[in-house]
């Protein structure tokens, strides 16, 4: 019984995390990708070396950034549960 309530609590916290994460991703699309798209295409057409550096830097930054975001969200939700 206790493990069932523990499981439903973790499912609940996951759903809350998913909802908050979805809001962040939605904002990210419209604020960052929308404005970044034109500039990146320009760099791609003009200078492939710069584009390669920018592409690598962007995916690394997003990887680290999203990891921090999801970890932070989980920590906040779990600390509120306990």
């Amino acid at each position: 019984m206790a493990s069932r309530s523990k499981k439903s609590a973790s499912l609940g916290s996951f759903l809350v995390e998913l909802a908050v994460y979805a809001v962040f991703v939605f904002a990210y699309f419209f604020l960052v990708l929308h404005f970044l798209g034109g500039w990146i295409k320009h760099v791609f057409d003009q200078n492939k070396t710069l584009y390669a550096f920018v592409a690598l830097a962007l995916i690394i930054a997003q990887g680290v950034g999203l990891e921090m975001l999801t970890t932070g969200l989980l920590r906040i939700i779990r600390s509120r549960e306990s």
């Binding site: 991703v25 492939k48 920018v54 592409a55 690598l56 995916i59 690394i60 990887g63 989980l74």
Partner: protein, 305 residues
């Protein structure tokens, strides 16, 4: 949403969903998920040279974080990872050069698609066969000695045979529990994985992971962590070299990665409920699904947008 670099129009929700599924696979099976991401991008109408480069870019974001986590858990053999990364980089460049040659002859889509289908069906068949053998062995063990081991393989003897191969220089890998192995075995395994990575995209974990476990004899949890560490270096190189050659649509990779980041957490949690041969068995239909997507797109020319 228009992705101007690759000249494609794709609903970003599709990309997030694919990233999410691939993220679950990464967390659950310990592989990058290019066996699904690549075929899905092709099915969305992305040209094959962009599929390869973009999939590599999307892997970078995931592998950096995952490798860091595995390093903390002590699952990374740095010595093995660095040796493998050096050889993989050469393999990735070979694969990227093959893509360039195919681009010049205007048949990159067809050739890479057929190669993808052959590799995916081969992986699925091999894992199904290995699981069947392992389950048969487990049944025999359980009737002879009681309970079977949780994580075992019917073809573990192959690694022992490769470790007996004495071509100098011989090295030891204490972190992986390997007393002696020829450096050449590691370099050849890594180079072949690199060629697949540069030619088909992604981290080629579907080739390297079984090779590390069955050929080099690395324990599975060390193989997962070391593979991620090695992929972090080789996929970064792959992204860079493919971006220089104009094969990376970084915006597609960024959108896919937003789904993958959350999917990876779910996948990692799911591993608590399954183990060993059951995880490998659950993996069997996924490459077939990827192969089916490619065959469908090739035959009908229809793309999901």
């Amino acid at each position: 949403m228009d992705f101007l670099i690759s000249g494609t129009h794709i609903n970003p929700v599709y990309l997030i969903v694919i990233g999410f599924i691939v993220g679950i696979c990464g967390g659950f099976f310990g592989v990058g998920g290019s066996f699904l991401a690549g075929p899905a991008l092709f099915a969305f109408g992305v040209p094959m040279n962009f599929v390869v480069g973009t999939d590599l870019a999307h892997i970078v974001g995931k592998s950096i974080v995952a490798a860091k986590k595995h390093r903390v858990l002590g699952n990374v053999d740095i010595k093995l990872g660095l040796i493998m990364a050096a050889a993989t980089v050469f393999g990735v460049e070979t694969g990227a050069q093959i893509i360039q040659q195919l681009k010049r002859h205007n048949n990159v889509d067809l050739v890479v698609a057929i190669a993808f289908v052959i590799v995916l069906i081969g992986i699925s068949s091999f894992i199904a066969w290995e699981c069947w053998q392992t389950l048969k062995m487990g049944k025999k063990e359980s009737t002879a000695k009681g309970k079977p081991r949780r994580d075992h393989s019917a073809i573990a003897y192959i690694a022992k045979n490769f470790q007996r191969f004495h071509l100098p220089p011989m090295i030891s890998l204490p972190s992986s529990g390997i007393k002696q192995i020829s450096l050449w075995t590691i370099l050849i395994v890594s180079y072949i994985g690199g060629v697949f990575s540069g030619f088909l995209g992604g981290g080629a974990g579907y080739i390297r992971m079984p090779a590390m476990v069955y050929i080099l004899g690395v324990p599975t949890h060390i193989a997962v962590g070391t593979d991620l560490f090695e992929v972090m270096i080789s996929a970064s190189y792959g992204t860079f070299t493919h971006a220089l050659k104009g094969n990376v649509d970084i915006l597609i990779a960024l959108v896919m990665h937003t789904g993958a980041a959350i999917g990876a957490q779910i996948g990692a949690t799911l591993t608590q409920y399954f183990h060993g041969v059951r995880i490998r068995l659950a993996f069997v239909p996924l490459p077939l699904l990827g192969a089916g997507l490619i065959i469908y797109s090739l035959i009908t020319g229809h793309h999901f947008k």
